[in-house]
């Protein structure tokens, strides 16, 4: 798949998460994003340094500001299973708005054309780091890193674009 770009419609896909009652749920991206303004950002790996210490905290911190600018959902995706995503989300007790979604088999990541092969690091197929601003399923802003670096995909960068 060619990487998703500004002007494209995001594909639908199913991601998994554990809800507040610890029940495993699956959700379609379209059901979360249709008719809304959403931020979809992805990290190469739960519990990895840049993801954990910079990328995610940035969105948690800026969540209120982003919401005040009309963002309805802030979705964090990673190619990790939902058990791992749940455990990782728990390490952010102050998080109010960011939803942690598991793309365990990387199928949604591949549908976006944003997969990253990290097999030689023992991580298998993961996602490139990115942040998308999507309005009613149309990509308005696509800040996609080449791999896992952290140069254009922060919360601040998306804020500037809003």
């Amino acid at each position: 798949m060619a990487p998703i770009a500004v002007g494209d419609s995001i594909p639908d896909g199913t991601l998994a998460y554990f809800d507040e009652n610890d029940q495993l749920q699956s959700v379609s991206i379209h059901s979360l994003a249709a008719g809304k303004k959403v931020i979809l950002f992805a990290v190469p790996g739960a519990f990895t340094p840049t993801c954990s210490m910079k990328h995610v905290p940035g969105f948690i911190e800026k969540a209120d500001e982003l919401k005040s600018k009309g963002v309805d959902e802030i979705l964090c995706i990673s190619v990790n299973d939902p058990f791992v995503m749940k455990a990782w989300a728990k390490t952010y007790p102050d998080n109010k708005h960011v939803k942690f979604l598991a793309d365990g088999s990387a199928s949604y990541t591949k549908a976006l054309g944003l997969e990253l092969d990290l097999s030689d690091k023992g991580l298998g197929t993961r996602s490139r780091r990115f942040a998308l601003l999507v309005e009613d399923l149309k990509v308005k802003v696509a800040n996609i890193e080449a791999g896992g670096e952290f140069t254009v995909s922060s919360a601040e960068d998306i804020l500037k674009a809003l």
Binding site: G45, A46, D81, W88, L123
Partner: protein
């Protein structure tokens, strides 16, 4: 809130997920075992068969095409070599080979389908941490837990369960070791998206050779606990 989460998550165990008939069963021509492993019925009297592989337990294969037969490790086999990884106490990413782990040593290697999953977190791993002292008193040098998760996740899991040096938590990130011993468990088609993981097992290895193998079907937790291993030693 964490307590509530632990309690309610017990109602969703990996074992429930894994009671699927699509599990690849190991088939071995060689009946090289003194103690019956959990795979083989203890009353099986093996007579050598020509190329047709005989499976002692009724197996359910998926109806789509011929089942793939993989050679699964058995008692008496020498472990294949492979590289596992982990973060050391100074947070450096390190690798260790299976042969380093097991040559000239008495080791226990046990595997879980997934870090942070209920049975693995609440029973299997804690069991080995608890019994580590007793196992070491019986001469075991190394106890290692292997999972097809990356080393970052294994490190976080270790921290979450407050585990020290009693049990090593090792990442088989690409599943290479798991595949080399024929113990993979395909959970890709589960809604949960776990990909290919390891079946649950516990093995006692002496100088690289498997002496005791307690292998579960999938993620069930019947024969692979620390207590079972202690009894066998």
């Amino acid at each position: 809130m964490a307590m509530a989460a632990a309690v309610t998550s017990a109602s969703f165990t990996l074992a429930k997920l894994l009671s699927s008939p699509k599990i690849k069963q190991p088939l071995s021509l060689l009946a090289s075992h003194k103690k019956p492993s959990s795979l083989f019925s203890s009353s099986a009297a093996f007579t050598p068969f020509p190329p047709v592989l005989r499976h002692p337990k009724p197996l359910k294969f998926s109806t789509t095409g011929t089942p793939k037969i993989s050679a699964t490790i058995s008692s008496g086999d020498k472990l294949p070599d492979a590289t596992l990884s982990y973060f050391d106490s100074s947070d450096e990413l390190k690798t260790v080979s299976v042969s380093e782990l097991t040559s000239n040593k008495k080791s226990i290697l046990f595997a879980v389908p997934g870090a942070f999953t209920p049975t693995c977190s609440q029973k299997h791993l804690p069991g080995f941490v608890e019994k580590a002292g007793e196992l070491k008193a019986k001469g075991v040098d190394t106890i290692a837990c292997i999972s097809v998760n990356d080393a970052f996740v294994m490190k976080a899991w270790k921290k979450d369960l407050n585990i020290g040096d009693e049990v090593l938590l090792l990442s088989d990130g690409n599943g290479d070791f798991t595949k080399a011993i024929g113990c993979e468990l395909d959970l890709s088609d589960k809604p949960v998206g776990l990909g290919v993981r390891s079946r649950r097992y516990a093995m006692y290895v002496e100088d690289g050779v498997v002496k005791i193998l307690n292998l579960e079907e999938g993620g069930a937790f019947n024969v692979s606990s620390a207590e079972d291993m202690l009894k066998a030693l």
